[in-house]
C-alpha cells in the first residue's frame, strides 16, 4: 500500500518533469503563437488537446506551463529550505531563549499565508512570477524551521551526539556531521509536501492575476482565461485543472511514500 504511494507519486512527478524538459526542445506548436482562424478547436489530430480562444495550441501551453509550475515550486521550496532549515537547526541547538525566539518569529510568519503575502508583494512591487515565488517561499519557511527544529532536538539528545559533545566537537561540526544528515530524510519529505502546496498556491495566484504574467503559459492562468468559454468549451478548464491536480497529487504521494522510506517514526503518526 505504502510503496504504491511512492510509485504512483514518482510516476506522476516524472510525467510532469518530462513534459517540462521536453518543452525546452520540442512542443507541437509555438505555445504563444496566436492563430485567430484556428480559435477554440476541439480535440484534433493537429492539436491533440485543441486550441484556446486565441488559437494557441493547448498541449504546447500545457507543456511550457509545467515548466512554470516546476520553476516556481523549485525556487519557492529552495528559499524555504535554505532559510528555514538553518533557522530550525539553530533553534534546536541553541539556548532555550533563542530557540523560543526563533519559534515565535516562526509563528508570526505563519500569520502571513502564501496567498496573502504574494498579494502584498504584488501590490507593492507589481505581480510577477518572481514575487509569487518569493512570497510562497517565505510563507513556507516555518514548515521547514519547525520540522528541522524538532528533528534537531531529537538528534541532540541521542547518544552519539552526547559523545561528540563530550569529545569537544564544536556546535557547527555537530550540526554538519550529525544533525543535518540525520534530519535530511524529514526535510526531503517536507520538500515534497511543500512542493505540492506551492503548486496549488502558484495556480491560485496566476488564476487571480498575481502570478505569472502573459504571455508566459501558466496552468493557473489557463484556467482563468477558460472561464469565459466554460459552458461551450469545458475542455479549456479541465485540461489545466487536471494538470494541476496531477502535479499536486504526485508530489503529495511522493512525500507520503518517501516518509515511509526515510522516516518511519513520522509514518506512524500520519
Amino acid at each position: 500500500m505504502r510503496n504504491r504511494s511512492l510509485l504512483i507519486g514518482a510516476v506522476l512527478v516524472a510525467l510532469i518533469v518530462l513534459a517540462a524538459l521536453l518543452s525546452f526542445v520540442w512542443t507541437p506548436f509555438d505555445p504563444v503563437r496566436v492563430d485567430a482562424p484556428n480559435r477554440l478547436h476541439d480535440f484534433s489530430g493537429a492539436n491533440p488537446l485543441g486550441t484556446d480562444s486565441f488559437g494557441r495550441d493547448v498541449l504546447s501551453q500545457l507543456m511550457v506551463g509545467a515548466r512554470t509550475t516546476l520553476y516556481v515550486g523549485v525556487v519557492a521550496v529552495g528559499i524555504a529550505a535554505l532559510i528555514g532549515t538553518p533557522l530550525g537547526i539553530l533553534a534546536g541547538m541553541s539556548s532555550r531563549w533563542l530557540g523560543e525566539f526563533v519559534m515565535r518569529a516562526n509563528d508570526l510568519v505563519l500569520a502571513f499565508p502564501a496567498l496573502l503575502l504574494a498579494i502584498m508583494f504584488g501590490a507593492v512591487f507589481g505581480a510577477t512570477t518572481l514575487t509569487a515565488m518569493v512570497a510562497i517561499g517565505i510563507a513556507t519557511i516555518p514548515s521547514f524551521a519547525r520540522i528541522a527544529r524538532s528533528g534537531t532536538l531529537q538528534v541532540m539528545s541521542s547518544e552519539f551526539v552526547l559523545a561528540a559533545r563530550s569529545a569537544g566537537r564544536s556546535r557547527l561540526n555537530i550540526a554538519a556531521r550529525h544533525v543535518l544528515p540525520n534530519i535530511f530524510g524529514m526535510l526531503i519529505v517536507q520538500a515534497s509536501v511543500s512542493f505540492a502546496i506551492a503548486v496549488l498556491a502558484e495556480a491560485a495566484l496566476s488564476f487571480l492575476g498575481f502570478g505569472t504574467r502573459p504571455p508566459t503559459p501558466s496552468w493557473g492562468r489557463m484556467l482563468q482565461e477558460s472561464q469565459v468559454f466554460l459552458t461551450l468549451h469545458p475542455r479549456l478548464a479541465l485540461v489545466p485543472g487536471v494538470a494541476i491536480a496531477i502535479a499536486v497529487l504526485g508530489f503529495n504521494l511522493l512525500g507520503d511514500g518517501l516518509r515511509d522510506r526515510l522516516d518511519p517514526r513520522l509514518a506512524a503518526r500520519l
Partner: protein, 314 residues
Amino acid sequence: MTVRVLRRLAILVASVLVASIVVFLFMAVLPGDPAQVALGVNATPELVAKTRAEFGIDRPLVTQYFDWIGGVLQGDFGRSYVTREEIGPALADRLGVTLWLVGAGMLVALLIAVPAGTFAAVRHRKADGTAVSGLSQIGVAIPAFLAGIILVQIFAVQLRWLPSGGWTPPVQDTGEFLRGLVLPALSLGLVQGAVLTRYVRSAVLDTLGQDYLRTARSKGLRPFPALFRHGLRNAAVPVVTVLGLQLATLLIGAVVVERVFVLPGLGSMLLDSVASRDLLSVQGIVLVLVVGVLLVNFVVDVLYTVLDPRLRGS
C-alpha cells in the same frame, strides 16, 4: 489553566502588535510614495504634495504608525487615498460576507471530514476504507477555484438549481442568501474537507490502537459507542490543531472563491484595492486578515486546554 491562557493572551497581543508594524512598514517604506502611486505617474508635483499633506503621509513614519494603529483600535482605518471614503465601514461589511463564507465552508469541511475520516480509519484494512482515503488524496489535489468552476458548471449552468454567483444579505432574503452560499461554501469546504479527512483518519486510527479503547470495550461498550464516547474527544486534540491552520487557509482561500463567485467579501475588496493602488485599504485589509489568523491560533491553543485535561496542570 488561567496562567496558560493569560500567557497565550500576552503572546497574542505581542504578535498582533508586531504584525501590525510589519504590515505598516511593508506598505509605507517599500513602495515609494503612496500618493504618487494612487494618483498615477501623470499627476503634477503640486497635486502630489497636496495629497501627501491631506493624508498626512509627509509626517515621520513613527507618527504615521501610531496615528494609524490608534485609529484602527477605535475602528477607524482612515480614508482611502483613491476614493477618499472611510475604509472602516466598507471593511466591516466585507468582513461579514467573508466570515459567512468561511463559516459555511468550515461546516461543509467538518461534515465531510469527521464521518469520512472516521469511516476510513475504522475500515482501514477494508477496500471501502482505502477507497475513502484515496478519494481524499485526490480531493486534496483539486484547487478550490477549480472545484468552484466545476460546481458552477454543473449546478448553476447545466441544472440551474443554484445561482452561479452574487450575494444576497441574509437580512434581505434568507432563502436567497442560503441558496447563494451553497456553491461557494461547497467549493471552499470540499477541498478542505478532503485535507481534514486525512487528519481525522490518522487521529482516529491512532486512537483505535489505544489501550483505553480496549478498556472501554471490556466494559461492555460496542465498538462504535466505545469510539464515540472515548475516542473522538482524544482524537479531537490533533484534529483541532489542523482545524486552526485550516481556518487560516480558508480565510485566505476565500479570496479566490470570492473571485469565482463574485462575492463582495474581504478578498475581493483586497484585490480591488490592489488593482486601484489603494495602499491604505490594502494595509487595513491585510491587517484584519492577519489578526484573524492570529486570533484563530489563539483560540485553538485555548481549546487544547479544554480538550486535554493533562494541559490544565494539576
